[in-house]
C-alpha cells in the first residue's frame, strides 16, 4: 500500500463498508433535512425520532463492522479498529440520549429552527466519529473541524438569548485560534517526518531516531508542542480550559450535555492515537508536559467547582476535572491505560448526560434556574427525578458500585501499575474534593426545604403581566453583586412576592426524556454487571492499537 501514492489509490467496496456507521449517520442527516421540509410546524419533534433511529441503526452496524477483518480504509486515512468502534458506540449512545432529551427541551425553551438543530447535532456526532476513527492527521483535522463548526452554531442557536450568543462567539474565536495552533503543529510534524498517516509517523520516528537529534528535531519538538496546545484546548485541560465553563453555561443544555461528552470522546481518542501511538518514541519528551497538565487540570478543575452555586456551571467545571483524570491515562500511555480511558469515556457519557439531563428538566423557560437553590427539596417535589440525579452524582463522585467508581478505579489502577503512582494519588485526593460539590447537590435535593419562589417551572402564558415581572426579577439577577452567596439569598428574597404563586407547579417530564433518564440510570447502575466484557473489548482494542 505504501508503494501507492494517494493519487493512484482506488477505493474498494470494503473501504465503504468500514465507514458504514458514519454513512448511516449521514443518511439520517439527509433524512432529517428532508423530513424537516415535510413536517408541519409543531410536529418537528419527530425529527428527533429520525435521528434516534439513525443512531440505533448505526450502532447496530458497528457490530457488523467489528466482524470485518482488517481495519484500515481509504489509503489509511481512516480506520475501523476496536478503539474507533468503541468510541463510535459511545458517541452514538450520547447522541441518542441527547436527541431524546431534545424535543421537550426545545419546545419549552422556545428555540426556533428545530430542523437545523437536529441536523447540526447529528453532523457534530458524525464529526466526532470521524475524528475518533481518524488514522491520519488530515482526517483528525477534518473531523475536528466538522464537529466544532456544528457545535459553534448549536451553541448560538437560541437567537434571543444573549448568553448563548456570547457562548457561541467565545467558543468560535477561541476554538478556531486553538485549531490554528493544532494545524501548524501538524504541518511541522509533517515537515519533520514527511508523513501524515499516524502509523507512518510512528514508523518514521522509530526508524530515524538518530537523525532526529540533529536535523529535524526542533521541527518535531515545536510541532509536538503546538499540537499539544491544540488538543489540550479541545479536551479543556488547564490552562486552556477558560472557554469551557462559559460555553457550557451559555449553550442550550442538551447541546452542553452532548458536547461535554462527545467532544471528549473524539478528542481523547485522537490525542491517544497521535501522542501515545504516533509519537510513542518521543514519550520521554511529552510525558512531563501531559503530567503537569493533568495535575493542574485535576486540581484546578476540582477547586473551581467547589464554589459554584449553579449546577450547570458546576458540571461544566467538573468536566474540566474529569479531563484531568483522563489525562492521567494518556500520561500513563500503556495499553491498559488506553483501555481504561475508553472505559472511563463510556461511563462518563452515561452519567454526565444523565446529570445534564436532570438539570435541563429543572431549568426554567428563560434558560436559567439551575442554581443549587433550584434543586432544594427536589427529593419531595419530584422524587424520581431527584433519585436519578442522585445516582448520576454519586457516580460522578465515584461512589461504588456505580459506573463512575469503576471508571476511576480502572484509570487509577492503570496509572498505579504503569509507574504513575504520584498521579494516581493526586487523582484520588482530587476526587475526594470532588465528592464535596457533587454531594452538595444531593444534599440540597434531599435535606433542604424547597426555596419559596425560586422554582417556577413553567410560567403560565395566560398571565403575561406575571411573566413579565418574573422576567424582570430574573433580569435583576443578572446585575446582581459578584458574591454568589449574597446574590442567591438577596434575589431569592426579591423573587418571592412575584413567583411564590408558582411554586406548586410541578416539573413535567416528557416520555422521551423519561426514557432517556431511565436508560442513563440503568447503564450507570448496571455497568458493574457488564464491566468485564466491556473492559475486555477495550483491552483488546487498546492492545491492537499498540501491537
Amino acid at each position: 500500500m505504501l508503494a501507492q501514492s494517494p493519487f493512484t489509490y482506488t477505493p474498494t467496496g470494503g473501504d465503504w463498508l468500514r465507514i458504514l456507521p458514519e454513512l448511516i449517520v449521514l443518511a439520517a442527516v439527509f433524512a432529517t433535512l428532508l423530513a424537516d421540509l415535510a413536517l408541519p410546524e409543531g410536529r418537528k419533534g419527530w425529527l428527533a425520532a429520525v435521528g434516534v433511529v439513525g443512531a440505533i441503526v448505526s450502532g447496530c452496524s458497528l457490530v457488523y463492522v467489528n466482524s470485518l477483518s482488517g481495519a484500515s480504509a481509504f489509503f489509511g486515512m481512516i480506520t475501523s479498529d476496536g478503539v474507533a468502534l468503541f468510541a463510535a458506540g459511545v458517541i452514538l449512545l450520547s447522541l441518542g440520549l441527547a436527541l431524546l432529551f431534545s424535543p421537550s427541551y426545545l419546545a419549552r425553551q422556545k428555540i426556533a429552527r428545530v430542523g437545523e438543530y437536529y441536523v447540526l447535532l447529528q453532523l457534530s456526532a458524525l464529526g466526532m466519529m470521524l475524528m475518533a476513527a481518524a488514522n491520519n492527521l488530515m482526517t483528525v483535522f477534518v473531523g475536528l473541524e466538522m464537529l466544532s463548526l456544528a457545535l459553534y452554531i448549536l451553541c448560538a442557536l437560541p437567537q434571543t438569548r444573549l448568553r448563548s450568543q456570547e457562548a457561541g462567539m467565545k467558543y468560535f474565536i477561541l476554538s478556531s485560534f486553538a485549531s490554528a495552533f493544532l494545524l501548524y503543529g501538524m504541518s511541522l510534524i509533517y515537515g519533520a517526518t514527511g508523513a501524515t498517516g499516524i502509523p507512518d509517523i510512528g514508523r518514521f520516528l522509530g526508524a530515524h531516531q538518530a537523525a532526529l537529534s540533529q536535523g529535524f528535531g526542533p521541527l518535531l519538538f515545536v510541532g509536538m508542542s503546538l499540537m499539544l496546545v491544540g488538543f489540550c484546548f479541545k479536551v479543556s485541560a488547564v490552562p486552556f480550559q477558560a472557554w469551557t465553563p462559559d460555553v457550557y453555561t451559555g449553550a442550550p443544555t442538551t447541546v452542553t450535555a452532548f458536547m461535554s461528552v462527545g467532544t471528549k470522546v473524539a478528542a481523547f481518542v485522537a490525542l491517544a492515537r497521535v501522542f501515545v501511538i504516533a509519537l510513542q518514541t518521543q514519550n520521554a519528551h511529552w510525558e512531563p508536559v501531559i503530567w503537569a497538565v493533568a495535575v493542574l487540570t485535576m486540581i484546578v478543575g476540582n477547586l473551581l467547582s467547589v464554589t459554584q452555586r449553579d449546577v450547570k456551571r458546576m458540571l461544566a467545571y467538573s468536566s474540566v476535572a474529569n479531563a484531568g483524570y483522563l489525562l492521567v491515562a494518556i500520561a500513563t500511555a500503556s495499553p491498559r491505560a488506553v483501555a481504561s480511558l475508553l472505559f472511563y469515556l463510556a461511563a462518563y457519557a452515561v452519567m454526565n448526560i444523565g446529570a445534564f439531563g436532570v438539570t435541563l428538566l429543572v431549568e426554567r423557560r428563560d434558560g436559567r434556574g439551575t442554581t443549587l437553590e433550584d434543586f432544594n427539596g427536589l427529593g419531595r417535589r419530584n422524587p424520581a427525578l431527584a433519585a436519578a440525579m442522585a445516582v448520576f452524582l454519586f457516580s460522578l463522585a465515584g461512589v461504588p458500585p456505580t459506573a463512575g467508581f469503576l471508571a476511576k478505579y480502572f484509570v487509577f489502577y492503570a496509572a498505579m501499575v504503569g509507574n504513575q503512582v504520584p498521579l494516581a494519588i493526586i487523582g484520588i485526593l482530587a476526587s475526594v474534593l470532588g465528592m464535596f460539590y457533587y454531594l452538595r447537590v444531593v444534599w440540597a435535593m434531599y435535606f433542604v426545604e424547597p426555596t419559596p419562589g425560586v422554582r417556577p417551572v413553567a410560567l403560565p402564558e395566560r398571565e403575561p403581566a406575571l411573566a413579565a415581572v418574573g422576567a424582570a426579577a430574573n433580569g435583576a439577577r443578572e446585575e446582581a453583586p459578584e458574591s454568589p452567596e449574597i446574590e442567591a439569598s438577596s434575589l431569592a428574597a426579591q423573587a418571592i412576592p412575584v413567583e411564590s404563586v408558582l411554586t406548586s407547579v410541578r416539573i413535567r417530564t416528557s416520555a422521551s426524556s423519561a426514557a432517556a433518564l431511565v436508560i442513563a440510570v440503568a447503564l450507570t447502575l448496571l455497568m458493574i454487571l457488564f464491566a468485564s466484557p466491556l473492559d475486555a473489548y477495550a483491552q483488546a482494542a487498546a492492545s491492537a492499537l499498540f501491537h
Binding site: 433535512l33 428532508l34 424537516d36 421540509l37 536535523g215 526542533p218
Partner: protein
Amino acid sequence: MPESLPALILLGLALLFGAATIGATFVLGPKRPTPEKLAPYECGIEEIEAPRQRFPVKYLVTGMLFIIFDVEAASVLPLAILMRRLQGLGFIELLVFALILAVPFIYIWRKGAFSWE
C-alpha cells in the same frame, strides 16, 4: 535549513516577547472607558447616526451561501484531474458528491434563504 533554525527560533522568541509585552499591558494597564472615549469620532461633533447601523445582512447571507458552494466546487477539481483513471467509479463518486450538495441546497432553498425579502 539547520543553520538557519536558530535564527528562526530567535525570531519566534522575539515575537513572543513582543506579544507578551503587549499582553501584559492589557492585563495590567488600567482601563477606564467612558462613553466619550469609546465614541467613534472625537472631533467634538456628535455622531448623527450609529456608524454600524447599515449592515446589509441580505448580502451577507447570500455571500455566505456562495462561499459554501464555491468552495465545494474547488473540491471537484482533483476529481476532474483523475477522472480518466477512475472511469465509472469516478462518475459515481461525482454523482454522490453532487447529491450531498444537492440535499442541503434544496433545504436552504425551501427554507427561503434565496428569497430577497
